[in-house]
Subunit: 316 residues, 2 copies
Amino acid sequence: MKPAAKFFKDILKGDKSAVARAITIVENDSDYTLLKKLFPFSGRAYYIGITGPPGAGKSTLVNAIAKLFLKRKKRIGIIAVDPTSPFSGGALLGDRVRMADLALNKNVFIRSMASRGSLGGLAKKTKDAALVLDAAGMDYILIETIGVGQVELDIAQVCDTTLVVLVPESGDSIQAMKAGLLEIGDIIVVNKGDREGCERLIMELKFAFDLRNQLPGWSYPIVKTIATEGYGIEQVVSRIEAHQAYLNKTGKFEVLRKEHLFSRINELIEEKIKNKLRRRLKSQPELKKIIDDIYSRRRNPFDVAENLLKDSGIVP
Amino acid sequence: MKPAAKFFKDILKGDKSAVARAITIVENDSDYTLLKKLFPFSGRAYYIGITGPPGAGKSTLVNAIAKLFLKRKKRIGIIAVDPTSPFSGGALLGDRVRMADLALNKNVFIRSMASRGSLGGLAKKTKDAALVLDAAGMDYILIETIGVGQVELDIAQVCDTTLVVLVPESGDSIQAMKAGLLEIGDIIVVNKGDREGCERLIMELKFAFDLRNQLPGWSYPIVKTIATEGYGIEQVVSRIEAHQAYLNKTGKFEVLRKEHLFSRINELIEEKIKNKLRRRLKSQPELKKIIDDIYSRRRNPFDVAENLLKDSGIVP
């Protein structure tokens, strides 16, 4: 077998080093050569998003969920997306250490997506990596993100079920509501359930959900966990499965996946246009003069943008 | 005078209620009618960005800086951009109360830009609001943001001088470096300078800056403050003025502003294209069939995006 064919076969088999290499390749390939080849083999994994504030115990929860899936002979891909804010990373090292025993399991693949100073494209990179894991035969892909920044909202677009993890700490429930975090959650997990204020938080959340429009056939469950002790994890997983069953039964699964695909096409086109646009603008012979005119307030950027768009024939 | 003419004059005079109304109008006007009229009167304010982790004391610092500018008979606009993450808002109420006495001053205009569940366009809204404040005759516009999410990076694009605020807490300096926060800072403020670890943090930062390429004529200052007590604020302001003088002397100010204008044009065009693109894609007669094909893995989104772009004549 040729090396390329063997590499491709190894990815599909879920061989760890091949998968790792594949992710690195797709991260740097703007032509999508490998992804195009892998795409036909994707679509079988179930995507689970886990989001919530720093310190909510998301990594421990992901860890516990993954272990439970492992017991059921499932294969699991985990993508931990580094925080948009660099300041919540204090616990990361500990989390990674905790995940180390998982990482040794041949049925688990863990990838950390770091922003490393450039945040642009983090969501895109995550989606590409998830697609590789999907084609590599993972049954579940767990994507862990912090907060509800644009990156997280973009990532939520590939998830079938999204868990929002909160802890009994002052104000979080209200902040979460304000920020629309509850709107993206299919299941709410109240972790560190042995802490003071837990019952109060659950009550507040129930109240918030009563105000929200309920979907026929799905009432948003609130599950109490103590992830460090494994308490409540079975219930979280059974709620995930219930949500999956609900999506399938109502036909929403297909609708959701098709919406995700529509968004993906849109993003891909936008990305291409953006690149072309910037190059084209920069090569505008008039550009220097135009900017000078705006700088000295003889023209304004709003009219200029409109005119440039009209003149250039981009999007008639 | 006609009401519209009076309204416009009131904005330019910096009348508080007119300015507030104007910001609300531009937030909801996709035609930029008012901004087009205001733009010729903008360009005189100096834009200062203040960014850093939750709890670094940014609001207190902004408060103290604003008070110092006030003493010098300057007019100040403050835009507080709500965090990308909803979970750092614990102190917000306290901050706002602290700002209340400032808000009563006729030479200070404060606006809070909340994301309220929809983060899209937060950076754009902030820029539009800043433009109104600029035309309204503010001498300084202080823009307070948290972290270095995409929103913050976008906002940094309108600032002339950016302050990065850190506190002596474990790991922050390293996290900040990793995330590229230091790269956007012209001045580093180490706040809560009476806390343990302060000197160590300053040492680490100095070391980091020694590794960074220095600009001729500007060595990145690190200023120690205790914002709650007003300690170090004079020095922060004198460093801001030094940076402004440096930009002017070297001609970098004009270059920077022109770069910002270029980015702005680009964004405006991108925004228009995005909207048109989404509408156009949705009205594609073939779209349903295409998505079905991708869903069933007969086609892949990467080729589809390329072909749609080619066929549609968007960006030839």
